[in-house]
Amino acid sequence: MDFFGRPKADVSADSASKTAKHVDPAKDRAIPWVEKYRPKNINEVTAQEEVVQVLRSSLETKNLPHLLFYGPPGTGKTSTILALTRDMYGPDAAKTRVLELNASDERGISVIREKVKNFARAVVSQADPKYPSPPYKIVILDEADSMTGDAQAALRRIMEKYSRITRFCLVCNYVSRIIEPLASRCTKFRFKSLPRDQAIARVKEVAELEYVNCADGAVDALVECAEGDLRRAMMSLQSASRMVQGRALDAEMVAELVGVIPADFVKTLRGAWGVSSAQKIRGLVDDVVYSGYPASRVLSQLHDLVIEDQQLNSLQKAKIAIVMASVDKALSDGADEQLQLFDMMMQASQITAQQTV
């Protein structure tokens, strides 16, 4: 999700160890590392250079538009805005100047209206002279894409009404789920997926700070499985560290932890195409289901295999990809995994068989 830039790593290590001192160890353990290693100021957010640059200039001019942050999970959206507010008001004043609402709070539009109203009205504490402290407050609407269209429409009005004294920052994964009128009132910032090497470096760093013993490839596997989601990688790391208890964390364990299906197993599935009877394929599908492997995962791993498969020609790959796409759609709609997988396997098997004929 969020991480410090490489050059600033020492600073963050310092601050982390400082906080660790006056919190008892048991309590400390309970803090998710994601929170613990959140960037403390805007300069620590580095992967998103363009975003940071724009924000930094707005910090200097004290002129902040409404913001809309979007991008895949774990790319530092929430961290960025939190860091920005801290830079703006200082860590203490930020508490009274920033209202953070997210999907876990009750978010009927009336609730939002009420909260925003009270918040806008509330007296603020003395501004910290060390910080720019612009005269407005900030409302952060996290996970804004889970708001209904109606609520968003109503929000439009609220934004206008309080725009003199508040700035809104909407944070979401999919900008398409934000209604157009709302999006057009905000400056949009896209957060890109983290480059792999940066993510790896960051995970390694945290692993060292937390004394997690990582075998070779373990961190790579972590980042690989997280698919650019640094928070996920961090979470996995933290969970894994609890599980291994001082032993070395290896790639295999990581794979199991994050639900990766063993490569051999996936190869067996692929091997069945074109040659096996329906009965046999059914047996394989049953195996997948009984082992508890998520079908979507099976699908994506099979997909990777198919792309590089030497025995299939392009047309077949294309056909199989179409089948996979439609099955994936069905799965994401909540269709039954066993049936869908069975269907996919049978169709892929038929397509594969066409070649040999």
Partner: protein
């Protein structure tokens, strides 16, 4: 007195009889004094609940087994009252939000916030945190899952969540990424047989090996069901015969009847008859996807090889429709009609 399934459910991690590697992991997790959020997933009857209970016991000691069932009333935003059954001990709370239907979000929010606030009370106990076990997490609405997302971080200090689900497919990414995934695979057929033998020994009965194997495979590697089957068979006839029939639940027998009817005759009148049978199943709360799947599998067994792929495809197609639609019967019947149409055409093409 209890059914064997409950009576012989192992209570401690040490007593678990398969997945020893996983057990080892869980033990370490529990003894580390801390626990990440867990997402326990795997097919039904694989032992998820047993493992969760064992972990709780490992963490809090035997007093975590003192459960009480209570009814809690939640109020929805529209001021409707919901009665939800909740199982709780001093250290944890178990809830099945599917009871709440679309209002599961309310239940989740209220419960978690409440637990988070009762931190001080729990502070005197051995552990700093309480645990919320959410069963059937895959039935949670998206709203509820989003609600979980942030609370899981926010209240991490004094609360842990254990989600229990058959598959991770329906759990949104953000929630998954906050959990440690614990996969509980179904026991192999041999493992099921082993467990049955253990239970049989405790009950002082003996099972012929072939019958045990038959039950194990008939249960589809579902231990829970295997034990129920064993007891039901025992009730019906003991000592067991080598070739005794395995008792299937009646709804499954009924599904076989439906499939046989579709294979036997393909006319609108037959379709009408089948519809009535489908309704009968629906009335008995058998989930529509299960019905469709059951019938499809029976049909696949009953048709020639070249038709199988097509049948599977149709089954998958209509099962997907089921998810999007409202009236299950329409889709079930459409599948049956489609099958009959395909099958009839196939029969007519035969020489």
């Amino acid at each position: 007195m209890a059914l064997w399934v409950e009576k012989h459910r192992p209570a401690a991690l040490d007593k678990l009889s398969f997945h020893s590697g996983l057990t080892e992991h869980l033990k370490q997790l529990a003894s580390s004094g801390d626990l990440p959020h867990l997402l326990v997933y795997g097919p039904t009857g694989a032992g998820k609940r047993t493992r969760i209970a064992a972990v709780l016991r490992e963490i809090y000691g035997p007093s975590a087994e003192k459960l009480k069932v209570s009814q809690r009333v939640f109020e929805t935003p529209s001021r409707r009252k919901l009665d939800i059954n909740i199982i709780s001990s001093n250290y944890h709370i178990e809830v099945n939000p599917s009871d709440a239907g679309i209002y599961d979000r309310v239940v989740i929010q209220d419960l978690i916030k409440e637990i988070a606030q009762t931190q001080q009370v729990a502070a005197s106990s051995a552990r700093k945190f309480k645990i919320v076990v959410i069963h059937e997490a895959d039935a949670l609405s998206r709203d509820a899952q989003h609600a979980l997302r942030r609370t899981m971080e926010k209240y991490m200090g004094n609360m842990r969540v254990i989600l229990c689900s058959t598959s991770t497919g329906k759990i949104i990414g953000p929630v998954q990424s906050r959990c440690l995934l614990v996969r509980v695979a179904a026991p192999s057929v041999d493992e099921v047989v082993d467990v049955m033998n253990i239970v049989a020994k405790k009950e002082g009965i003996s099972i012929p090996p072939s019958f045990a194997a038959q039950i194990a495979s008939g249960s589809q590697r579902n231990l829970h069901r295997a034990l129920l089957m064993l007891e039901a068979s025992y009730v019906r006839q003991y000592p067991f015969a080598e070739a005794q029939d395995v008792l299937l639940p009646e709804w499954e027998e009924y599904i076989k009847v439906i499939a046989a009817a579709a294979l036997k005759q393909q006319t609108p009148a037959q379709l009408l008859a089948i519809r009535k049978q489908l309704y009968e199943l629906l009335t008995h709360c058998i989930p529509p996807p299960t019905i469709l799947k059951g019938i499809a599998m029976q049909l696949i067994d009953g048709v020639e090889e070249e038709l199988k792929a097509e049948i599977v495809h149709q089954a998958a197609f209509y099962e997907h429709r089921l998810q999007n639609g409202q009236k299950a019967i329409v889709h079930l019947e459409a599948f049956m009609a489609k099958f009959m149409s395909i099958y009839k055409r196939h029969l007519m093409e035969l020489p």
